[in-house]
């Protein structure tokens, strides 16, 4: 791994995004608008908005970065640029690190915007620090980037790649405690949700909503999400082969 090559790759990915302002606008504005919509859906019960709103702050970056990365990597594979890069002195870690860095930066802007609007314009009430919310959002974005990179290896077309979104993300969305608290789900589903990383992202967000200080639960949740992101990134690296049939 070479830091200059990683940075050059991140800069290249961001430059590509700069030529696509509509994607950037959608990435940044849709979560804000959805959080606003949610605020008025739960107009009568601000407590519910606090819980679900905070959870969504963790879920948005995961979903958007998953989609963006899976399509971007698929394009890299199908356009032949990946084969070209792997025939050049570029480490796989440089490529993956570059993507993670670029999309992580984008996720940082996205979550700062969404968290800011949720806290100060929509009255989301959290006991803990907004910085901790953003930390979890950033880790979620990395997890989304990692998952997107990984599944793109199994998609032969954009059609297949977008279908991986419901296949990979929806089960986690249903089981992460957003709809029904995890401890009130049937035993089997609760065990399953224990194995899915988004559950920890949502738990971490809710720790910040309820507790003023940094809890052990929050640290554990953040570490689990970060660990999953790294694990899946490593799996994603294994799908990049220099020699192919």
């Amino acid at each position: 791994m070479n830091p200059s090559r990683t940075l050059a790759t991140a800069a290249r990915v961001l430059r590509q995004l700069r030529h696509d302002p509509r994607t950037v606008a959608l990435l940044l504005l849709v979560p804000v608008v959805m959080t606003g919509l949610l605020r008025y859906v739960y107009d009568g019960s601000p407590g519910t908005f606090d819980r679900i709103g905070a959870s969504l702050l963790g879920i948005f970056p995961l979903i958007t970065m998953f989609l963006v990365t899976s399509i971007a990597t698929l394009r890299e594979r199908t356009s032949g640029t990946l084969e070209r890069l792997l025939a050049l002195p570029l480490g796989k870690a440089d490529l993956i690190g570059g993507y993670a860095l670029a999309f992580g930066l984008l996720a940082l802007v996205q979550s700062a915007l969404t968290t800011g609007v949720a806290l100060w314009a929509l009255g989301l009430d959290t006991a803990g620090s907004p910085w901790l919310l953003m930390l979890v959002a950033l880790l979620d974005a990395l997890l989304g980037t990692a998952l997107g990179l990984f599944v793109s290896a199994f998609a032969a077309s954009e059609f297949q790649a977008v279908q991986f979104m419901p296949a990979v993300i929806f089960p986690q969305l249903l089981l992460c405690g957003l709809l029904v608290p995890r401890d009130r789900m049937p035993r089997a589903l609760e065990a399953l949700s224990d194995a899915l990383p988004m559950s920890y992202a949502v738990d971490g967000m809710n720790q910040v909503v309820r507790h003023t200080d940094l809890t052990a639960g929050f640290v554990r949740d953040a570490l689990v999400v970060a660990g999953c992101a790294l694990l899946v990134l490593a799996l994603g690296a294994a799908t990049l082969r220099r020699r192919t049939a």
Binding site: H19, P89, L90
Partner: protein, 260 residues
């Protein structure tokens, strides 16, 4: 560059059958043969992106695909492999940064980029998005990327396909200049036989086998035919009984882009 008993099996099919040949340094060698005869597979084996390779394949004194070769070998795939959502210059700057990373080489990189742009005659389009260029222009961007690192070996897969005659002539002049001035070795594939006359040496391929390995002039002389195309047809007819077995497989060779 030297191959001994080089065989490539792809998806259970033998695409290259125990090839033995060598390519002279500092010259332009043309790799000619009909579509699907294994030219691209041979090139991918040389640059080390092809799986399922057996036999010995030495490139610039190293086994093909050796990490040290990645900076010394330039490779241009048949379909242009550049980022459509970057400008020509941005594409080149990125690949240059991969080849020579670090702030220390910034000036050298900028120079290499401008030279590559000029080499492929795209100075007037240097700030246009690659996706907005014509097919021929995009393939020249792809070629410019391969010229960036002043490679010792250039492997070019059908670089002139779809270009107009003037551009084709200019590119061949560029290839000769690169071989003469930089002492680089070029391996250029084509399925258009009239390009053969521009090469120093030819490898004629058919159905995963090498039919001939000679200079264009010697080929014409040995077969008693006026053009390389006629010489090729003569060789095919002569080899017909053995080559016929391979024809069916040959047609099935997947032409799509490999997915790394």
């Amino acid at each position: 560059m030297e191959a001994r008993d080089l065989t490539v099996v792809r998806g259970g099919r033998t695409v290259l059958r125990s090839l033995t040949f060598s390519v002279e340094p500092g010259r332009i060698t043309g790799l000619l043969g009909p579509s699907g005869c294994g030219k691209s597979t041979l090139m991918r084996a040389l640059v080390g992106t092809q799986a399922g390779v057996t036999g010995a394949l030495t490139v610039l004194g190293r086994p093909a695909g050796h990490p040290e070769l990645r900076a010394r070998v330039g490779y241009v795939t048949q379909a242009p492999s550049v980022y459509d959502d970057l400008t020509v210059r941005q594409n080149l700057h990125y690949f240059a940064a991969v080849l020579r990373p670090g702030a220390r080489h910034r000036a050298a990189r900028a120079e290499a980029v401008e030279r590559a742009v000029a080499d492929v005659d795209l100075a007037s389009h240097a700030d246009a998005l690659a996706g907005n260029l014509s097919g021929g222009q995009r393939s020249r961007v792809s070629l410019a990327v391969a010229l960036l690192g002043t490679p010792e070996l250039l492997v070019l897969d059908e670089p002139t396909v779809g270009l107009d005659p003037v551009l084709r002539r200019d590119l061949w002049e560029l290839f000769h200049r690169i071989a003469a001035d930089r002492g680089a070795t070029l391996l250029v594939s084509s399925h258009v036989m009239d390009e053969a006359e521009r090469c120093d040496r030819l490898l004629l391929m058919r159905a995963g086998e090498i039919l001939a390995d000679d200079t264009p002039e010697a080929l014409r002389r040995s077969t008693g035919r006026p053009t390389v195309e006629a010489a090729f047809l003569h060789l095919v007819d002569r080899a017909a009984p053995t080559a016929a077995a391979g024809t069916h497989e040959d047609r099935q060779e997947q032409k799509g882009r490999p997915r790394p």
